[in-house]
């Protein structure tokens, strides 16, 4: 059953050096409140798994600015000049992933699969040191599952059972990451006493461990 906590209390579920998934796409569907609290602590050396490193002023981008990210497994860093600077200065390790491959690797971990086969990245730098598997005379890269110790997720709507639903283009990685992390913390904008309609639920509450009533709307 999901537990309701504050963003400050959520910081107790993190340890130095952990792998953390954070939902959101650029400036949309971003959790903020737990990150604001993490910035007040000495927590550090995280491996970040996310679509991108946002901007220096927004969500997970602020963790990069504060040097709390040791390694970023993302599809894009170009919108955060501080990630680019740290990468060029070798202050942060960046493992760039094709975005669809990143999503499927997260899904694989959450769905109990041993990996996925994708044609994306063949004949490019992405294929380096990866196994190529031929199925029906077509080549694919074997991409392994990606899981996390903790996930920080944004949702527009939630109920007391932990069920989640989303407005607009906020679904992005927020829908898949809850399956792939040991501890899942959700920042929800609206939490209803009444159960959400089973027809409209996108993320089932059984994937969610902790719920926070969001202070802002996730866009800063």
């Amino acid at each position: 059953m999901v537990k309701f906590i504050t963003a400050k209390e959520a910081t107790h579920f993190f340890k130095n050096g952990q792998t953390v998934m954070i939902g959101g796409f650029l400036n949309c569907g971003n959790p903020q409140d737990v990150i604001t609290e993490i910035l007040k602590t000495n927590l550090k050396d995280f491996t970040l798994i996310a679509n991108d490193t946002a901007t220096p002023e927004d969500s997970r981008g602020k963790l990069v600015v504060a040097h709390k990210i040791k390694k970023a497994i993302v599809s894009h860093i170009g919108t955060n000049q501080e990630t680019v600077r740290q990468y060029n200065a070798k202050e942060i390790e960046v493992d760039l992933q094709p975005q669809g491959t990143l999503a499927e690797r997260i899904r694989a971990a959450g769905a109990g699969l041993g990996g996925i086969l994708t044609p994306v990245g063949l004949n490019t730098l992405v294929a380096e040191n990866k196994q190529i598997i031929t199925v029906d005379n077509k080549q694919y890269l074997l991409e392994t599952p990606l899981k996390a110790d903790v996930a920080i997720i944004y949702a527009t709507y939630a109920d007391k059972f932990g069920n989640l639903a989303f407005h607009g283009s906020t679904k992005n990685f927020n829908v898949l990451m809850p399956m792939a992390a040991d501890v899942v913390i959700v920042e929800a904008e609206n939490i209803s006493e009444q159960p959400l309609s089973p027809d409209n639920i996108v993320v089932p509450g059984i994937f969610v461990d902790y719920m926070i009533k969001k202070e802002n709307n996730g866009t800063d």
């Binding site: 796409f25 991108d52 490019t124």
Partner: protein, 216 residues
């Protein structure tokens, strides 16, 4: 004839717009490829997909319809057209990788005579990441590269790309302010010469062998 950057981009965008067919599901790169939408003729209705999970991307938002929860892949506030829907990243990429996109238009750093594309990385200088580009180009039914013919005078159409590839052997068409090329069976074929250019100028600014066949 010397064109300004703006003039070159408008010529390219107008020419790209003629490639859209009624009912096409299309994905457009940020910047120049997106400008092509402005020039699509009124009787052609396309469905624009955005990798962040919008199918049926409409006009940009204005003060009458601000909603921070609806963006395109460039992070700009957009609207959604009737019949459109929002999906998660898995579904957005299934559309792209799974062969459900009719036409993709992207920019390029380099493109070569074998249909290889490089548009995500200049080692040591520029590494923003590939984002969704690699997935997109693998699955699309047709791939058009829309770009200025040269970068600071240097050719961008080469015999062989020197930068890290985004994808191998996938580019179908190259549209620049000077020319339209097709790539068929690893051969580069000049199909159109822009009224603002000439065969001589195209030869001088293209670092690849090509066949001239303006009959198609």
């Amino acid at each position: 004839m010397e064109l300004t950057k703006e003039q070159a981009q408008e010529i390219i965008a107008r020419r790209v717009a003629r490639e859209f067919k009624d009912g096409d599901v299309v994905t457009l790169g940020i910047g120049l490829p997106t400008k092509a939408i402005s020039y699509v003729s009124d009787d052609v209705h396309i469905i624009v997909q955005s990798e962040n999970g919008v199918l049926g991307v409409g006009a940009y938002q204005d003060d009458s319809n601000r909603d921070p929860h609806i963006i395109n892949a460039g992070g700009f506030g957009v609207t959604i057209n009737d019949g459109g829907c929002f999906v998660d990243s898995l579904t957005a990429f299934a559309m792209m990788r799974g062969g459900h996109i009719d036409l993709t238009v992207l920019g390029a750093l380099q493109v070569d005579a074998e249909g290889n594309l490089a548009n995500w990385c200049i080692p040591g200088k520029f590494t923003p990441g590939m984002g969704g580009a690699m997935d997109l180009v693998v699955g699309t039914k047709r791939l058009i590269i829309a770009m200025e013919h040269t970068a600071k005078g240097a050719p961008k159409i080469l015999q062989k790309c020197t930068l890290p590839l985004t994808v191998a052997h996938k580019v179908n068409t190259i549209i620049t302010e000077k020319a339209v090329f097709e790539i068929i069976n690893n051969k580069l074929i000049l199909r159109e010469i822009s009224p603002y250019s000439s065969l001589d100028e195209i030869r001088q600014t293209t670092d690849a062998e090509f066949i001239v066949d303006l009959t198609a």
